[in-house]
């Protein structure tokens, strides 16, 4: 049969033997049976079909494994492959293509759906029949697997010819559904997935032929929609709702019929057309924009705005800006309410009303952030920025906090108000510890917004010192400790070390007193004439108190001396100085209408005791006997004679409320009040100025220490760098004024800690 016995030529002219053709016929028959079978409409095969397929498989197997082809120079596998391909091609061209080409519109979709399904089955079973080829022949990289080969047949025979029409129909359907009509989703999906499958394991065909165009069409569609909505009457109000609805709709559609990779770009197209160009309009719309929603507290609308604008880059920043401005406005309003003295709740101190309303404002937004804005940090930052503006006004700002004083309007700081608020809360008997703790926790949040934290510290120290001296119950001490703990967490231990020292002194007071009493009994000293409880304050911890020269009455003197003796023995090298302005006493008197116990300050007590010696006291004499400045005497007598409990009265009976050096006072024997025990309040000096001044002075030292520290480590630094670094290091405590830093630098130059560089006057050098 063949001319030579060496390598046989493979080629088209080499014919396979008859045995081969006979076997092949079996294959062709099986194939045709398969077609009939499928076209008959079956989906699941009957056992007979399976048997037939197995038979076909065996045929292929036998042909390929007999190696006869090699002897004859015929590659049986290749031949089988080629013929399988022609089978499929022929089938497609003769039956399928003709059908499909004729159809248009929805009919095309139906047809494609049907034919594609059919072809899938053909592929599946044909592949089974010729499976042996896939195990060996098609493993070669240049030969497509059976599946791919058959898909390619479909691609060239059917798909290429109809893809434009098909695409057109798909897009028309989608647009129709967008317009609100119902479509046949199943069939549509099938057509779309055809595009995907035609990519043969890649999305290339789908991306190029379908997705690209779909996205483009989507953009156009929504561009038009957005313009239409905006132009409608009241369109701005409903715009976002509609936009969200559309986005959800597209998302659902993408999930159900499109390739998963399309969803992202598709929704982005919507963002680009529906949202991005209109963000500003939506935000600033007068009745439905962000500001309006905040005003009427429509959290749901704000939530929607948040959801939508977080899809667009930079969208939230604009929104947060509006939120910040709004909060700032609300805060400034609170400030002016305070300054104009608009009534708060009756009986409540103005400071309490103000701080409470600040906390309420803060909470309102916490709720909004949690419920509707996913606690996104851009909003918490906006709130922080807003609070920092109105909580820290400059003196010249229109929203600065002011209070009426006898000299006109005085500037008040939040540092003071917050401290006063905490003071009132701790002193009040709260229902539960948790309640108290919650309020204090919130107040600390407000504290973090304050710039002048050192000023707060000064007020807090002063007020806490008074609290500790008046009230020694354990529960209060615990609350003080807990509050200090909170401050410590935010500011570090340096900030709270003095406060802790004060607390320590207080808790040791009882201890000391016990030992003092022991000392008295053991030394068999005479019993003290009056009940006496001293308290020792360590100087460094407590705020500075003015020393006075009070000459106390005899009874007091004895106690003081005894204690001094005890203390000198009990400790070494410590000096005791009595601060009588802080003390208080209980003085009893049998009035005409009954005995009364009066809680008074030490000064008040000393004045009252004067009346024991003489019925009528001359102011000037009182001053001299007690050795106190006139202002102090005046205030003390004023509180005893013209206050709520006038226990003394003017000798001349005049109905005036003044205290002059020449005035005489006598006991008001007719005095009466219902309660047996009562407190005579003393006039407290206005401390705001002195505390502020002390703070300013302290700042000078702090700034200087900071500058020196910086220069010591950096050796030489430019002016700007030094100032920037100083401000940075001090920012957690207070925000220093630029001029003040400059002044301190100049002072340090004068005192030769620093010098200016001779060549570059902008540069400073540290002088060791």
């Amino acid at each position: 049969m063949f001319p030579n016995k060496t390598k046989a030529k493979k080629g088209a002219d080499t014919k396979p033997p008859e045995t081969f053709e006979k076997e092949w016929q079996k294959m062709e028959d099986s194939f045709n049976e398969l077609l009939t079978f499928i076209e008959g409409g079956m989906l699941t095969p009957d056992p007979g079909h399976y048997k037939r397929s197995m038979g076909a498989y065996a045929v292929v197997y036998n042909i390929c494994t007999k190696h006869e082809g090699a002897k004859m120079g015929v590659n049986f596998a290749a031949e089988l492959y080629k013929r399988a391909k022609s089978l499929v091609e022929k089938h497609l061209e003769e039956k399928v293509t003709k059908q499909v080409i004729q159809k248009t519109g929805d009919a095309l979709l139906q047809e494609v759906h049907k034919e594609w399904r059919t072809h899938a089955l053909i592929v599946k079973w044909t592949r089974f029949m010729f499976k042996y080829l896939d195990d060996y022949y098609t493993k070669s990289p240049i030969i497509d697997t059976l599946t791919i080969m058959m898909l390619k047949c479909f691609h060239s025979a059917v798909f290429d010819k109809i893809k434009d029409n098909l695409r057109h129909v798909i897009l028309a359907n989608i647009e129709s559904e967008r317009d609100g009509n119902t479509i046949n989703k199943e069939v549509l999906r099938s057509a779309i997935w055809l595009f995907i499958d035609m990519g043969m394991n890649t999305c290339d065909v789908y991306d190029e032929e379908l997705e690209k165009v779909l996205i483009k069409q989507t953009k156009q569609y929504y561009k038009k929609e957005s313009v239409k909505w905006m132009a409608e009457e009241g369109g701005q109000h409903t715009y976002l709702k509609r936009a969200e609805a559309r986005i959800n709709e597209e998302s659902r559609r993408a999930d159900s019929i499109l390739a998963p990779t399309t969803k992202g770009p598709l929704l982005k197209a919507l963002d680009d057309e529906l949202l991005a160009p209109h963000i500003e309009t939506c935000l600033k719309c007068p009745d439905a924009g962000c500001e309006a929603l905040l005003q009427s507290e429509r959290n749901e609308g704000l939530g929607r705005m948040f959801r939508l604008f977080s899809r667009v880059e930079g969208g939230l920043d604009q929104m947060a800006g509006i939120v910040k401005d709004h909060i700032e406005k609300e805060g400034k309003l609170l400030n002016s309410k305070f300054s104009t003295g608009s009534a708060g709740e009756s009986g409540e101190a103005a400071s309490t009303t103000y701080i409470k309303s600040c906390l309420t404002l803060h909470d309102k937004y916490t709720v909004l952030f949690e419920e509707s804005l996913s606690k996104h940090e851009v909003f918490t930052k906006a709130r922080k920025a807003a609070f920092e503006v109105f909580i820290n006004p400059q003196q010249s700002d229109s929203w600065a906090l002011k209070q009426k004083s006898k000299d006109g309007m005085e500037i008040v700081t939040t540092s003071e108000l917050l401290s006063t608020y905490i003071d009132s809360i701790i002193k009040k008997e709260m229902e539960s510890e948790e309640q108290l703790d919650a309020i204090l926790e919130k107040s600390v949040t407000l504290f973090t917004y304050i710039h002048d934290k050192d000023l707060f510290q000064q007020f807090y120290m002063k007020q806490m010192s008074r609290r500790l001296m008046h009230n020694k119950n354990q529960r209060l001490l615990d609350q003080e400790r807990s509050q200090i703990g909170k401050l410590k967490m935010k500011m570090g231990s340096a900030f709270t070390s003095k406060l802790e020292g004060m607390l320590a002194d207080q808790s040791h007071a009882d201890d000391h007193n016990r030992r003092f009493k022991q000392h008295l009994t053991s030394n068999q000293e005479a019993k003290l004439p009056i009940d006496f409880t001293p308290m020792v304050l360590t100087t460094g911890f407590w705020p500075a108190f003015k020393h006075d020269q009070l000459v106390p009455p005899e009874e007091m003197k004895i106690c003081l001396e005894q204690y001094e003796k005890y203390y000198a023995k009990a400790t070494q090298s410590r000096k005791l100085t009595w601060i009588h302005s802080l003390g208080h006493a209980t003085v009893s008197k049998k009035f005409a209408k009954g005995p009364r116990d009066m809680s008074v300050t030490t000064y008040q007590a000393c004045v009252l005791v004067l009346f024991n010696a003489t019925g009528s006291v001359l102011v000037k004499e009182a001053q001299e006997t007690l050795s106190l400045p006139f202002e102090e005497i005046k205030r003390t007598i004023h509180s005893l004679a013209y206050g709520k409990y006038p226990v003394i009265k003017r000798a001349d009976g005049a109905k005036v409320k003044q205290v002059k050096e020449t005035d005489q006072f006598v006991i008001n024997e007719e005095f009466h009040t219902n309660s047996r025990k009562f407190k005579i309040p003393a006039v407290v000096k206005q401390e705001r100025e002195s505390i502020t001044d002390t703070n300013q002075e302290q700042r000078r030292h702090v700034i200087e220490a900071c500058i020196v520290r910086i220069m010591k480590s950096r050796r030489t630094l430019s002016h700007n760098d030094l100032v920037t670094e100083t401000i940075k290091q001090l920012s957690h405590l207070f925000s220093p004024d630029m001029r003040i830093i400059k002044k301190r630098i100049e002072d340090l130059i004068q005192r030769q800690y620093l010098e200016r560089d001779e060549q570059n006057r902008n540069q400073y050098r540290y002088l060791a």
Partner: protein, 180 residues
Amino acid sequence: MQGKLSGEEHKKKKKKDLAISIDDDSLLLVACRIQASEPFKLGRSEFINGMKSLGIDSVKKLKAEISKWKSALTDKRHFKYFYWFAFDWTREENARVIQAESAVESWNVMLAPRCKSFPLALWNEYVTTVHKKAISKDAWKSLFDFIFSIAPDLSNYNEDEGWPVLMDEFVEWAKKEKRV
């Protein structure tokens, strides 16, 4: 400039000894070069040691050096150091600052002839009528750079460049009062 008694007396003696006519400016120059430590005083040993270290051993040489120094003053750098030294010479004994009036006087003598464009008169007015406090060494020294680098209408003044607060306040006042 006015000299203090001991200095003057001594100088008179010196002058007589050396028979030179020495004017105030030159005196200041000499003091500057010797780095005299006390205002308006030129101690005998200070003078002698100073002359030694400068290598001046005759009156003729001193005269020559003085005129050399005088011409050097046209150079701004030399004049700056000269001006800076003048602070120590002009202050009160043991004081670390100069009173406003004295400072203004010195400035009129030393600076006004050199710097025609800068409104020195305005500055002097500010110092004597508004500021009124004494002038520190740093402010004195900085004034030199100030008048030579700041435009007459103060437009290029930048507070962030580390000028003393006195200059900040002057510029603020001048602008507020619309004097520039």
